[in-house]
């Protein structure tokens, strides 16, 4: 009789800061417990063992940013049963998507003396724009509790549904004083999905959108409030075009404000 098969898990990285996969290493004791229930088939940051698959659950961190990554991603998808993207880069292009719509050749020239050696795509894009994704976990970084819970669900073969309610609800639940009402500080909490536990308002400052747009986000009303707080329109647009600025709802909000500034 053969031993019961343990789910095979792989972790891959595209363009990113490594912070989301670090959440796995930061799980420490839980990581060791989890490691007893799964086979880590490929996790280059943590292990020299590198198995070509197939995998039961694959985690992908980072955005698609070069032609080589796009090719690698398609190959990873073919070898994966469940594919979960983790973090702001993988789910909305990340902070590096701030280059999207800009002159990429000028960007390359501004950083490198010999731009000819650099192979890059014009836009930094989320994984789901290129392959089928079974579950997206947002956040910059992804929340460790959400990540471990989602992994536990997936290795048992079911897909969880993380909450999409706004940070505001979480602040009310925790009894936090509203930073926008009390201090006049611009806060993306009304349009950003929860996941962080209202971290920024808890630390006395406005939310800056790490977990991406909530459902549904009333960005128009919030932009109006920011303007009323005395924020210049260009900075109101910038506040949406930030860590998760390439997520459609935030991108449209920033574009709309910029169009209004520029006039018809």
């Amino acid at each position: 009789m053969s031993a019961p098969a343990t789910p095979r898990v792989a972790v891959f990285k595209m363009a990113s800061c490594d912070g989301c996969q670090l959440q796995l290493l930061d799980a420490e004791e839980a990581l060791l417990e989890l490691a007893g229930a799964i086979t880590i088939a490929n996790f280059a940051e943590a292990s020299s063992a590198m198995d070509d698959g197939p995998y039961d659950v694959t985690l992908v961190e980072g955005s698609v940013s070069s032609p080589e990554q796009l090719e690698q991603l398609r190959s990873i998808r073919e070898r994966s049963r469940f594919l979960m993207t983790i973090g702001a880069c993988a789910t909305s292009g990340g902070v590096q998507a701030l280059r999207n719509g800009r002159d990429i050749d000028e960007y390359v020239r501004s950083v490198y003396a010999s731009p000819g050696f650099i192979d890059t795509l014009a836009d930094s894009t989320p994984i789901a724009e290129h392959v089928k994704v079974d579950l997206e976990l947002t956040g910059c970084p992804v929340d460790r509790g959400q990540l471990l819970a989602a992994l536990a669900w997936l290795i048992q073969g079911s897909v969880p549904r993380p909450p999409t309610t706004p940070v505001c609800i979480e602040c009310k639940r925790r009894g936090y004083v509203c930073v926008m009402v009390a201090k006049g500080e611009p806060c993306l909490g009304p349009v950003t999905r929860t996941g962080c536990g209202s971290l920024c308002p808890g630390m006395g400052r406005g939310c800056y959108g790490c977990f991406g747009p909530s459902q549904p986000p009333n960005t128009e009303a919030l932009a109006k409030t920011f303007l009323e707080l005395g924020m210049p329109p260009s900075r109101v647009a910038d506040s949406f075009r930030f860590i998760t600025g390439y997520a459609p709802a935030f991108r449209e909000a920033a574009d709309r404000i910029e169009r209004e500034v520029d006039g018809p």
Binding site: G19, F117, C210
Partner: protein, 431 residues
Amino acid sequence: MTHRSVDVPVVARVEGEGALHIRIDDDVITRLELQIYEPPRFFEAFLRGRHFSEVPDIVPRICGICPVAYQMSAIHGLERLFEVEVPAGTRELRRLLYLGEWIESHMLHVHLLALPDYLGYDDAIQLVRAGFKDAVERGLRLKRLGNDLMAAIGGREIHPVSPRVGGFSKAVAARTLRAFQPRLEDALVEILEVADLVAPLEMPAFPRPAEMVALTHPNEYAINEGSMASTEGRAWSVDAYEDVTHEIQVAHSNALHSVFTDTETPYFLGPLARVVLNEQRLTPVAREAAARGGLGLPTLDPFASMAARVVEVALALEDSLRLIAAYEPPDPPSAAVRPRAGRATWATEAPRGTLYHRYDVANDGTILEAKIVPPTSQNLRHMEKDLGEFLPGVLDRSDAELTRLAEMVIRNYDPCISCATHFLRLDVERV
């Protein structure tokens, strides 16, 4: 002519993505390229046009392992330009936050990235199954302490949210920090046990000449401020960083390489360089950790880097206890900031070495130009040099063994390739 070719597609247990190509013709290395293929993310380009107040939320995203380093180099530089007088206690709280990052990053490196090499396993999970459960758990406990300190002060350990130009958005309560005292006391005992674990590990001997570089400070082990010094007697202020060193681009890498401008020679940054250059500033338990960890000072051997990380964690624990005992929350938590036009430059000591930032700012606080020189990109040229000098002595080994040794040479630097913009793929061609 005999040709030997080995292909190892990924160098594991480093942060970020890269590859190593080696070609050997008749037992001589004829080509050696450390290739950084992680695509560029263009931080310096998209920082242009952003408001200075957004910089502490943008730059930590360069690296999830050392976000505080990026925040600190940026914040200090901008505050100096704007002539901000930060509230009393801010300097101490920032040092404590940074010490948390050193503890977290060094303990991650020693236990999860480096230790498997020296004990002959693929990863720390195999170590646990092979009987090193207590050692790995102790390492993770120490790492957790660093993480928890960062989370207490910054809100979270990866991309903290409270640091801002002017101070903190909220100052942690004194009783929250005092609650760390018993854990720090226990950790001071445990870090010496880690030194005892590291001391007997069999390391290759590689005492090659190297010019080591670090920040130095007259009164403390330099982290957030100081001036630059090298083991060859160079000394310069951070303002002169871009004159004394400069970056060059090479065809095989997406990361820029750094050299001294006058001699075109590479330099060596990181924990070992800091311990060597700041030996007088080591605290008592740090000295004991050096003695028990087998770190004879001064040394030029890069394989002593693991012991140097243990020594720095001992120092960080002691220093944290001192800072926490004297802590009073800065009140108010931050000072008002009025931007003005000019150039902001600053360097701090990231876990992997000196991190230099420069910002050109407009009168209204808009960033006009940004330049960020991370420690790993400064170390890349020296990594190639080490490989070129170390590998000829071990060419008789199998391809698998050669790969393992090459990775160990690279791992001495704890390279953060995401920072350098950019996992390692080893490709050995033997002719």
